[in-house]
Every structure is written in structure tokens, then in C-alpha cells.
Symmetry: D2
Subunit: 388 residues, 4 copies
């Protein structure tokens, strides 16, 4: 049967299901980006973003994907040939490393098994060994979207502070912002990188930064060539409510609506909701007798869960069955997890019954695809959900 | 927790979940209802509606709710004081009876227990006893939305034909059209009454008729006062693509899109999908150990399932818990079923995972509301769904 | 050239240009019409409609076109064979008369030339002559959409009051509500009939009533058959925020937005804006040397202007040229004005430059169609607009 | 009066009025950017863009503003310190120069008066003098959005070819693409830079390239650091229908719709429409007795017209009056034209009556702002429009 009726379940770990309120907001007629109405819009969303990043400092909005904000974080703070400490926590950490290399930086890339977050002790050891203070930045992915593993950013900062190492701390919160507890200012992060299409519930098209004073000061002498990504012109024009080049107006309409929705629900409630759905999902996976990619219970992601298939079973074949039969999109295995892993996104605009539908789809799909598993995982999740 | 994030599950038996394609269609700018573009629209939707009603004869679109189309069916075909044979199959059948009485008709209202459809043998007996041919119309609700019981329209017609009784056959397909097998022409129905907000997946606001030649001929001498509902002016103006008064343009945009969606999926597939989801739902109800309102296995509705709660349990309290906790709207018990019954709509734009979410919400809600039931109903539904 | 790019100018006298805010509002997902959110919606729009009708009494919203609200006004207040005084002010007044006759009422239809409003002196004479008080209702079209002539409702009421005649006063404000000064309560109207697709800026699909206490009392004994249109069930269910049958939810979303827009602009400002655009339009027509249908300067409509073409010129040929060349829809001549008249709608969501575009289109069209006229009418309108 | 009712006239030279079809398209639910439906979308829009650029070669779509596509053109083709020949045709040409300098290129910036396009003879002289072939690229703005002056790209190419100079030709078509005749392949351009929010009628958020084989080959050895903008990964992933990072899905939905609209109208018709509206606008400006920025009749832009105010008159004060009184946004004077110039955008989704409204608004605004001018400019435009 061609079951294409009904609502699609977009349970990749981003882009997430865009709520209809936001879809309507982005369908408002475009306005003059140099007029007074636009200036009010800019100020409102910058103020709102500050609350989401938990910072009182500057935030920046780029017309770009999150990948653009990665590049922007590097070119604003570093000079050719400078050294960056990075960690192989998964596919996206690896891509960020590749970008740094391509841009002419030297990367000390700490190997990893893609099943753990960054080890704060390794950060400490690396920096302690860096007597010459040649490491200019430590770049960490807060929530590795390819594995469902989070890293302990606050603890990393503490280790850096303990050593009084001057390196900047750059953090990718692409798939954690507005979904998993994160505190730019309190945790002492220098550049936080975010985007629109995950916890912020928007379509893709916005790259985001929160920036520390120290990062801004560093930018003044950083010498990687930059123009589009340059903070200075952006922050200056933003002050008056404008942008140094044409901003993506309709996505900004959507961002305003997204921020209103987050504040209506309450940011704390949003985080608690993500934690609850993540725990329910993990109970389902355990109920099925399947293995999660994440091995450290302290590092489970609240925005997605990556699940391993038994050897000899192709995760992409499973995903295909599920997409065609149940109108449910799941995340593919990326990089070296290709074919071995599928990922369930449970972030953004989501609720208990959407999760119930999602887990039901996975459970039915496992059966259809002939993957060995124990029935009842979805039921275990529901049992958890109905308890609290 | 205030779980208001994510998509609402509108599982009342109509209005149903309006697909985003249709919502976008009805947000097109309104056009001149006397211009050439409008005439093309009218012709296209009338042709499409014919296929949905399965008729080659006239169809009529009223700017009204389905209740208006009930009234229109009566006032176009009957004269003051004429007798109509009606059947107490549930709340809506009772309301239609009340309307007929209010309009000045005499109604022979065959009592019922709200748990069975119309008994064709009773129709036959009633008409056989009507030697004077004083019964001018037999009015039947095909799918009683308050109980989830369908009546066997084709068989009723056969009994009428067997007696050569000249009464018209008026059928309400409000909650069956485009969801449950129905054939206006083949079954010899004289006036079929439908609406927009159920199987047609639109918001409310359109009342629909399919009309037989015999009904049209009868209308010429029917003397209940009528103007707004009058077929003649409507059919004449429709021929040129127009309406005798301002039509509800934007809902017609939506209707065109709805018809396209039905034809893309294939009407047969649409009916099969409804049958499948209905059977899955019944398995869930049986799995919970709850009783359905419908007692005759041949009369189960494919568009909704009405479920009885054990005595001393308030169905509306259950519905309230489910709405507040799970963002799921279920149908209330109507009329004498108030508080004793809840109804699950599984019609319109729907799929397996939406059903899984719905049944999960009901199952979790039963537990939260303290209703005695057996766990696993949702699981039984999923087992059925994954088998075929 | 096929000039189909750009925004269509829908300058018929309704449906009017629906603002994008309202189009977005009606594209919200349909909600449960028996749930708490719906009840809040109902209460909010009923309260807002009261302000628009300028009444503290009951208002009613039908899922119907305005024509349905005409029928509802008659069947709620009158009994078969009762006499109604009506006036031939134009095409729509004639249609309303025809409806009354069709419904079994006796109509005293005062002939008119379609170029004047109702003469209050004639009302007085007719009622004064009615010693037996057989006239049960006086029915007046406030703004005749086919001619652009308004009638003086307050003065008519004064004449009726002067005679202490007990007839009800029924007024059609289809194309004047929220566009031309109108006061249901202050003017002592018994039933005011309105609709959605004109000054309220919505798509068609809602019929509206404001009702006096006297009309309500009369309804209790009025004996024309009615069910769908019956006030009693409607008002009772409305009290709790609900409807006796499925309401047109998405149009009600739009109505809420429309009311907000009217109140944001300010009702007085809305009326003043319509007056200003109407005067500008009349200056254009005079500048072209063309004749308006309306002959009495006190009776010019502020929502539309009907313009006569010189004999031997076909207004529909002109309209066709203008539609094809300039993407501008104008109103056709109706009834006996067919082909002789075109109508410019300047009501609803409108502004100076939309009017400038409209009048420019008419002026260019007159030239293209070979209609003899004086150039510069559009310029005269602009001169007026820029002065105030 | 606060005339905020009615449709806003967004007559800045981009973003342009986004047609409601496109606004609805971008409000479709976001889909999986790694799924089969997305791959079909990518292929369809790339094929369509090729027709718009008039190329059979590769095109690239960036999630960025047009400014990003400027940067991408430079970093893909040039190495640090290499020389680029650029021309001071206006504000945007100056910004592009500044970007090149900031990225570490050496720019030979030919001064200009902001009232003429690039002089092909100067290009020839510069390149002829460049015996050492140190000039690696010639960068030209096809249509200077700040001045309304177009440059003769085909002729520039001919001069380059005549000298067999190997420099690449980079052309900015930000405000000419899909509005003014442009032929990437036939004219031998190496990199054409475009964006979404002008002739393509979309909101901002997409940067576009058409690329020659020669440019692609050059990219392999170009050494400016690049990652986000890198063509190679983009073109490789595009081949399969995907992107190397998350693409701006909803804007791509809009792009597909925009391309359909352009092809429905016919690209030749689109260009002819722009030419017609531009000529009408120029007649209006001449009628007012005002001066255009563009001094060379062969170089008038078909997408916007920049108008100078008499000395002692502030163009921004005029724009403010027009915005507040007439809900019409005009372009501001940029850079050294600040306050002296206003710009009328007449590109994108536009028609005769929108232009009539726009010019009427300008004419009324000139009067209100006390700018000395001759009445009747708008009328002169209409006279031209009605002739053809």
C-alpha cells in the first residue's frame, strides 16, 4: 500500500518538524530591510536569542547554514597556521576539523571511537603539555549529531581555567541549542555556534553565534581572510537594527515566532521535555535489545538517539522500509557509521504522541526488515511517559 | 507539564486533520466569483465530486454546514405534512428527525438502541404496510457519527425496489463520504447528503448533495418553502460555472486540492486505508477489554470507533485528561451517550503512525484516568498494521 | 502581452482583497469545535462583531453566504402570507423580494428607478396607509451593491417611530458593514444582515445577524418553517461558546483576525478611509465625464461606485479588456443594468495607491475600449488624495 | 491619517514583492534533505536555473545572501595577492572592491562618477597595458543597484577576447538576473553571481553562481582559503541531488515555484515586461522634470530607476513621507548618493497597475514633501503603457 496520506514524521535530528505557526510566519510578505519595521524585528530577535544562548553579550545571525557559522567562528578568531585542539567525537567533529585544515589552520585532532564525548582530562593533559601556549583554540561539539553523544562543556572550561590556558573555547551547539541545557556565559564559552533548523524549529538557513568579549578582542588581530563572516560590520549594523548585507527576512519572521513559542512554553520546560522524550526513547531502544552508539550514560543526548543494528543488518535498508511504509524519516548513519546506525531525532516541536508514533514506526519497521529485536520497546517508552 | 508543543492530534470524527496542502490552497487570494477563472474551478470540482459520490448526475455545493444540506434535502423534495420514514440509529439521526418535524413534516421514527444500523427488514415491513403510499421519503444515516455504526444502504434500496414503493431514498453520508464505500448511482439513492470536514479533509463550511433524476422531478412539485436551498437556480447557474449567490471561494480552492489528493491516492486505496485503520482500532479496543457501541460486526464504521466506558467512569473526564496531557482531541459522547462514550476518529488525512500516536494516547489516558482496562491494545493494533 | 504577473486587483464590490494576515489566519489547522479553545474563539468574535454592528444585543454567525442571512432574517420573524414592505432600489433588493415571495410572504414592492435609495417619505406614506397594521416588516437594503446607492436607514426608522407602526425593520448591510457608518442599536434596527466578504475583508462563507429584543420576541411566534436558520438554538449554544451544528472554524479564525485589524486601525478611521476613497473615485468619474448610477448626492455609496457607459458601449467588453490587459476585476452590471454599467469596489482592505492603480486601470481601459471620455479622471482623484 | 490598510508597495530594488504563490511554497513543511524527494527538488531547480542563467554548465546555490556569492566568486578563483580589475560604477561595485581587498587581493579600481557603466574601452586599455598578464580577473557589476546603470557585458568580453587576455570575467547580476537580458554562456562569462530576492521574486537567503569550465579549472589551483564556498564538494554532492551541508529547503521550495512562474510567463516575456515598465518609469521621471542618475541612454537599467532630487531637498525625507502616507517603500540613496537620490524598483513580480500605484505615490509624495516638480509624470507613464 502506498501510505502517503497523513502527516509526515520528520524524525531526523534536524531539520525538525517546523510548527505551522512558524511556517505561517515565514510566509509573511517580505519587508524593506532598511526600514523601521525591520529594525524592530532585528532588535527583538537579538534580545530573544540572547536568552536562548544564555548570554548578555553579542549574538550574530548569518544568512547561512550552520556550517557557515562553523567557518565564521574560525575565521574571526584565528590566523593562518595557528593551532586548534579538536576531538574526533563523530562525523560532524571530523567535518569541522577538515574545514579548519582546509582554511589553513593546524589541527591537533584527538582520536576518538565515536561513542564518547570529549574527555575533559584529555583537554587538560593536552593544554598542560602546551607550554608554549601554541594552542589558540579548543573546539568542541556539544552534541554530536552523528552519534547522540554530548560533551561536558562546563567541565572542559573548568580544566582550561585551572591551567590558566589562554586558548579560546569554541563550541558547536548545532543540535543542542534550545534542546539541551547550555549556558554560553556561565560556562565561559568564547564562541557558540548554532543554527535554525533544530531546537529552534525553523527551516535551515540561519547560522548563529554568541560571542565573548575575549573572542571579540581576539578577532581584532586574527588574520584569516574574512569579509562575509566578519563580526565587526555585522555587530555595528545590528546596533541600529540592520545588517551589512541583505538579511534572510522571512526566516527572521520565523525566528521571531520560534522565540515567542519557546518563551511561551518556558525554556526550562522545553529542556525538561527534551530530557523526558530522550529517556523514553532510550527505554524503547533497551526494550528492543538494541545497542545505542553512546556508551557513557552521562553523555546521552537529549535531542537524538543513535541506534546500532546487529552486524549483517543494513540500517539504510531499515530506514527505507520505514520511510516507504510509515511515512517516517529517520537519520542515516554518517561517515564510518554508514549503514550500521540509524538515528531518531526527538527534538524541536515534539510531543508524547509524536514520539509514540515514531517509536511505533521503528518497532514495526524492525519487524518488517527482519532485524532481530525484542518486541515491546515502544510500550516501555509509553510506560515511562505515562508515569510522569 | 504543559505539553502543548508539537502537532495536535485532532481525532474527533470530524472536522478531521486538514492536510497542509489544503490549508495552503484555502489561503490563496480570493478571486472574482463571476470571472472565467472561477468558472473553470466550478467545473473541475463538480466533475471531481461526481466521482467521489459515484454518480453521473447532478451534484450541488452549498455554502453551509452539513446540517444545511440535511435541510436542503428535505425542503427540495417534500411538501408540508408529508410523511418521512426515519430511524433512531443515534444522535444525528435524531437531530435530522427533529429538523424534519420542525420543518412541518410528519415523521415515522423507528426507535432504536443506538447500537445498530437501520434494519432493512424493518424498512421493508414499514413500506409494505404503507398501502396508501403515504410515505414520501425514507431517510437514512449511512454512518452514524455518534455511534460508529453503518447502515446497509444498498440492501435498504433493494427492499424498497422489491416492493416498488415510490418513496425517495435520502441518505446522510456526512461521515462516510470518501471514507467508506458508497455508490450514489449504483445503489439508487435519490439524495445523498455530504459535507467538507470529514473524509474530504477540508475545514467545515460546505454542504453537498448528489441528486437523482427522480428527486429532481419530485422537487418541481414539492411545496416546502425554499429559496437558499433551491436546486433549480443552483443547477442552472452551475452549468455556466457560477452560483446563484456568492460561493465560498476559498473553501472551493481547498475542495479542488482535496479532490486532487484523493485521486492521487486512488479512491479505492483511500477506502482500503480507512478499513485497515478501523480494523486496527477495533483490535486495540478489544485488546483493552472495552466495549464498542456497535454491536453488529457487519455494521462497524470505518471512519470512527465509539467506545463505552465501564459504568461509574466518566468518558468526558477521560477525554479531558487526554487533551491536557497528550494534545489529543477525541469525540465526546452525544445525546444519551453523553459521558458514557468516547469516539476515536480515524478518517480523513491519516496514516499508521498517526493512529499509533492516537491509540497510545488513549491507552496512556485510560491508565491516568483510572479506568480499568487491559494493557496492550495499542500493541495489538500495531501488530495488525505491521502484518499488512 | 499576457500581463498576468504581479498582484491581481480585485476591485469588484466584494469579495474584496483579502489581506494576507487573514489568509494566514484561515490557514491555521482546524480545531475541535467542542473544545475549550473554540469556546474562547466564539466569545471573542461575538464580542467584536457587536462593536462592528454597534449593538449590545445578540449577534449570530451562520455558515452561509449573505443570501442565507437574508433568508434567516425572514424565516425567524415572519409567518406564511404575512406582508413585507420592500423597495426596488436595485438588483439585490429585487432578489431579496423574490426570495420573500418564494418563501410564501406577500410583498408590497415599491417600484424604483435603481438610481435612488429608499425614500423615507414613501415609507411613511405606506405605513400611514396601513391602518390594519398588516405590514409586519419593512426590509431595506442599506447599500445597494448593484448601484452604489445608500438608503437613509436612521430617517426611515424615525418615520416608522413617528407613526408608532409596529413593523420590524430589517436591513441588509451586506456591502456597508464595516465600511459605511451604520448603527444597529442607535438606529433601532430589528434585524441587520451582513456577511464576511466585503468590509470584513474575509472570503465568502459567513452570514451575519444583529438582532433586537423585539425581533427575538417576534421570532417566538413566527411560523415560517425553519431549522438551520433558527435563532434560538444558535443563541443558546453560543452562550457556552459553541454552535448547534459544525461551525466554519477556519473562517472564524479569519474573522478574529479581521476584527483585530479593524480595531487596530480604529472603526472611525476605517469609515473615514472609505469615505475618502469614495470621494476620490467620484472625482475620477466626473473627471472622465461619465455618469454615475447614483443620482442623489446624499446617497452616494462609500464602498462602491457604479458608472454608466454612454449608449452603444458595452460595459462588459470594457471589463474584459481591463481584466485581460491590466489584471483588474471590476463589477459587472447586474439585472437590468447588464452591459450598461461597471462597478468599482473601493471597500475592504484598501489604500491610496491601490485606488490609484485601480483608477489608472479604468482610465487606460476606457481608452483601449474606445469609450468616449475625458482624460485626467485618475489625476483628479490623486489631486484630492494628496490634499488630505 | 494612518493609512496602514491595504497592500504594501515594496518598490525598493529588492527584495521585491514576493508573489503569494511563492510565499505559500516556502510555507510547505520542511523535508529530509537526504531523502529521495529532496534529490528530485535539487535536480529540478538546477535545471531551471541553467535556463535562467542561459548556460549549459554548472550552477551553484549557496545558503547565503548575494554578498556571500560575491565572496564565493573570489575565493574559488583567486590566490592571495592576485590582481583584479574592478570599476567604480556605484555603491555595490565599491563594496565588492572592499571585499576583495579585505580578502587579500590587489584591486585595480577604475574610478567612476556613479552615473555610467563600465567603459569597455577602458577595460581594453587596462588589459592591453597588462603585458605581464598579472590581472587575473575582471569583475563587473552588470546592473548597479545603487544607480540604475547597466554595463555592457558582452562588449567587455569581446574586448578581452580581442586581446586574448586570460583574465576571468566575473559578473554580478544580483539585480539583473531574470529581469534584464543576460547570457552567461553566449557572452563568455566565467562566474555569474546572482541571488534570490530580486528578479527571482523570492525572499533573501540564496546566493547563486553560474560557472564556466575555465573558472572550474582555475579553481583547482586557486589558493585563497575556502571551505563553505568551495565549488568542488558542492558540485559533487549536487550531482546526486544533495548538498555538502544542510541546504535552505524552504527557500528551495520557493525557487522551484519561482522558476515555474518564470517559465509559465516565458523568459522573453519577462524581460520585455521589465523593459516596458522601465521605459514607462523613465517617462514619468522626465515628465516630473527630475534627473536620473544614469546619464547614458544606452545604460538605463530595466529593473530600477534612480532619481536625483534638486539640491537642498532630502530624498530620505521624501521617502519617509511616502512610506508613512502611502505605504510605499522606495530605495534609499546609498554611499555618496545618500540623501540625494531615491530609487524606484520595478522588477520582479510586477504589473502595470502596481507601477501606476507606485508612480502615483511618488508624484503625490513629491507634492507633499515640497519638492519642485512638474505634475503629470505618472500620466505620461500611463500614456505609454496604454499604447502598447
Amino acid at each position: 500500500m502506498g501510505l502517503k496520506s497523513g502527516r509526515h514524521f520528520l524524525q531526523i535530528p534536524g531539520p525538525t518538524n517546523v510548527p505551522d505557526r512558524i511556517l505561517r510566519a515565514i510566509s509573511r510578505p517580505t519587508i524593506d530591510h532598511r526600514g523601521p519595521e525591520f529594525a524592530r524585528l532585528t532588535r527583538e530577535i537579538i534580545e530573544g536569542l540572547r536568552q536562548v544562548f544564555r548570554t548578555s553579550g553579542p549574538v550574530v545571525i548569518y544568512p547561512s547554514s550552520g556550517t557557515g557559522a562553523w567557518e565564521a567562528a574560525l575565521v574571526n578568531t584565528l590566523s593562518p597556521g595557528e593551532k586548534v585542539l579538536m576531538f574526533e567525537t563523530g562525523h560532524f567533529a571530523t567535518l569541522w576539523r577538515n574545514m579548519a585544515v582546509q582554511l589553513g589552520l593546524e589541527v591537533d585532532f584527538v582520536p576518538g571511537d565515536w561513542r564518547h564525548g570529549v574527555d575533559p582530562a584529555v583537554v587538560e593533559a593536552k593544554l598542560a603539555a602546551d607550554r608554549g601556549r601554541t594552542i589558540k583554540a579548543v573546539a568542541v561539539v556539544h552534541n554530536e549529531t552523528s552519534t547522540g553523544v554530548t560533551s561536558r562543556v562546563a567541565e572542559i572550561r573548568q580544566r582550561m581555567d585551572g591551567l590558566r590556558h589562554p586558548a579560546l573555547l569554541l563550541v558547536d551547539t548545532i543540535s543542542s541549542l534550545a534542546s539541551i541545557d547550555y549556558r554560553h556565559e556561565e560556562w565561559g564559552v568564547d564562541v557558540t555556534v548554532g543554527c535554525s533548523q533544530k531546537g529552534l524549529m525553523l527551516p535551515p538557513g540561519l547560522g548563529l553565534h554568541a560571542i565573548s568579549e575575549k573572542a571579540l578582542a581576539t578577532a581584532r588581530s586574527a588574520r584569516l581572510p574574512r569579509s562575509y563572516w566578519d563580526w565587526e560590520a555585522m555587530l555595528e549594523d545590528n546596533r541600529a537594527g540592520f545588517f551589512p548585507y541583505t538579511p534572510p527576512t522571512n526566516l527572521l519572521f520565523g525566528l521571531r515566532e520560534a522565540l515567542q513559542m519557546l518563551f511561551e512554553e518556558g525554556l526550562e520546560n522545553v529542556l525538561a521535555r527534551h530530557a523526558r522524550h530522550a529517556e523514553a526513547t532510550r527505554r524503547a531502544v533497551r526494550g528492543w535489545g538494541l545497542e545505542m552508539v553512546c556508551l557513557n550514560p552521562e553523555e546521552h543526548s537529549n535531542s537524538l538517539t543513535a541506534v546500532m543494528l546487529p552486524a549483517d543488518h543494513d540500517a539504510d535498508a531499515l530506514r527505507k522500509v520505514i520511510l516507504e511504509r510509515f511515512h517516517l524519516s529517520l537519520g542515516t548513519g554518517l561517515g564510518k557509521l554508514k549503514g550500521r546506525v540509524f538515528r531518531i531525532g526527538h527534538l524541536g516541536d515534539f510531543n508524547d504522541l509524536m514520539l509514540a508514533g515514531t517509536l511505533s514506526g521503528v518497532e514495526m519497521g524492525l519487524a518488517l526488515a527482519g532485524v532481530p529485536f525484542t518486541k515491546g520497546g515502544a510500550g516501555a517508552a509509553l510506560a515511562y511517559l505515562s508515569e510522569r
